[in-house]
């Protein structure tokens, strides 16, 4: 029996609701800050967070994180209420193991 050493990823599609738009760095910093405040630097380091895609005008983003840290990342995202003093609510639209499956899921939900 071989041990699986390659980390499993999860891709999250996010809907960012706000009256303002933010650049990529501001959004990612906010999520990192939230993650660090909730779980500390040690906990946040396990999440392995990467922003894959971001469309500020549409309020849409795709994040990648470690499968083990998925609950931490979701909690850190859900608890965000403000970015740069603007009211914000970030909702997870879909979660998947591959980016291809995530896009398929998203297109299915849009067709319904």
């Amino acid at each position: 029996m071989s041990l699986r050493t390659k980390p499993r990823h999860r891709y999250l599609a996010l809907k960012i609701e706000s009256n303002k738009t933010f650049d990529k760095r501001t959004l990612l910093n906010k999520i990192w800050n939230s993650l660090t405040r909730l779980y500390g630097e040690y906990g946040a380091s396990k999440a392995n967070l990467v922003l894959i895609d971001y469309k500020p005008e549409e309020g849409f983003a795709i994040l990648r994180c470690n499968n083990n840290g998925i609950l931490m990342v979701r909690a850190a995202i859900a608890i965000i209420t403000q970015i740069m003093e603007a009211q914000v609510a970030i909702h997870v639209l879909a979660i998947s193991g591959t980016i291809k499956a995530l896009r398929r899921k998203l297109s299915q939900t849009q067709n319904v």
Partner: protein, 245 residues
């Protein structure tokens, strides 16, 4: 079977019908099947009917809820006598130990809420939990204070919630998670509320039950009780008149 999700505490601004509609539409969009709005005890039937119709047009079920904040045991009993049959969900905010104990043992109370951020004024201990489990009351945990606090305040709140959640689970007291949202910014998807419950050490499936199974059973039980043919749990009046043999 698909889970039905419930938010038992929406703070609808019923004087502002446009905003009320927006919040209800948002709740539907986020995936809720049933919402309960906190209404004042003297809300007239016309307003309740209007909100119910509005919810029906949006495609969401609506339950009436009242929040009691009594200072004494007698005040609580008076409120319950007057309001229990008018509202589908009754929540009691426990501001003193006497009120907390009476609310926990009274079968007319559905939800117990502990608001104070002071360990000596949070009364959900093992005795309270034992009384609540016998009376079928649930522990209500609101997410809005968690969203709006930060730093030490949030840390303390999480610490209290963690202790209370353990006591509730040990005594079989259902935990109900509600948003207490007064604006759409504070509304979160049911699964997001369940994820936030992991912050006070509930596992994700228990968190999901806290936004679906437990609140739904509370509303179902109360709706059954409020029907005119209800006599006692399991006993219903099926026929009335002279020819009942």
């Amino acid at each position: 079977m698909k889970r039905k999700f419930v938010d038992l505490n929406l703070q609808l601004p019923i004087h502002d019908l446009d905003k009320t509609r927006k919040m209800l539409e948002k709740a539907h969009e986020l995936g809720y099947d049933l919402v309960a709005a906190n209404l004042s005890p003297d809300t007239d039937d016309g307003t309740i009917t209007y909100i119910k119709k509005l919810c029906a047009s949006i495609g969401i079920d609506f339950a009436t809820r009242v929040e009691l904040i009594p200072k004494t045991r007698h005040e609580l009993l008076g409120h319950l006598r007057r309001l229990r049959r008018k509202f589908e969900v009754v929540s009691v905010t426990c501001v003193s130990k006497v009120v907390a104990r009476q609310a926990a043992k009274d079968r007319r109370v559905d939800l117990l809420f502990f608001p104070r951020l002071d360990s000596r004024k949070r009364f959900f201990d093992s005795q309270e939990a034992e009384l609540a489990s016998n009376a079928l009351a649930s522990l209500e945990i609101r997410i809005k204070p968690l969203l709006l606090s930060n730093g030490v305040q949030r840390t303390r709140l999480l610490s209290y919630l963690r202790k209370e959640a353990v006591v509730a689970l040990n005594y079989g007291v259902p935990i109900v998670i509600s948003s207490e949202a007064s604006e759409t910014w504070h509304m979160r998807k049911p699964r997001e509320l369940a994820v936030l419950a992991t912050l006070f050490d509930l596992d994700f499936p228990t968190g999901l039950d806290a936004v679906s199974k437990f609140p739904l059973s509370t509303v179902k039980r109360n709706r059954e009780k409020l029907k005119s043919n209800f006599i006692a749990p399991g006993i219903r009046l099926v026929k009335r008149g002279k020819n009942c043999h």
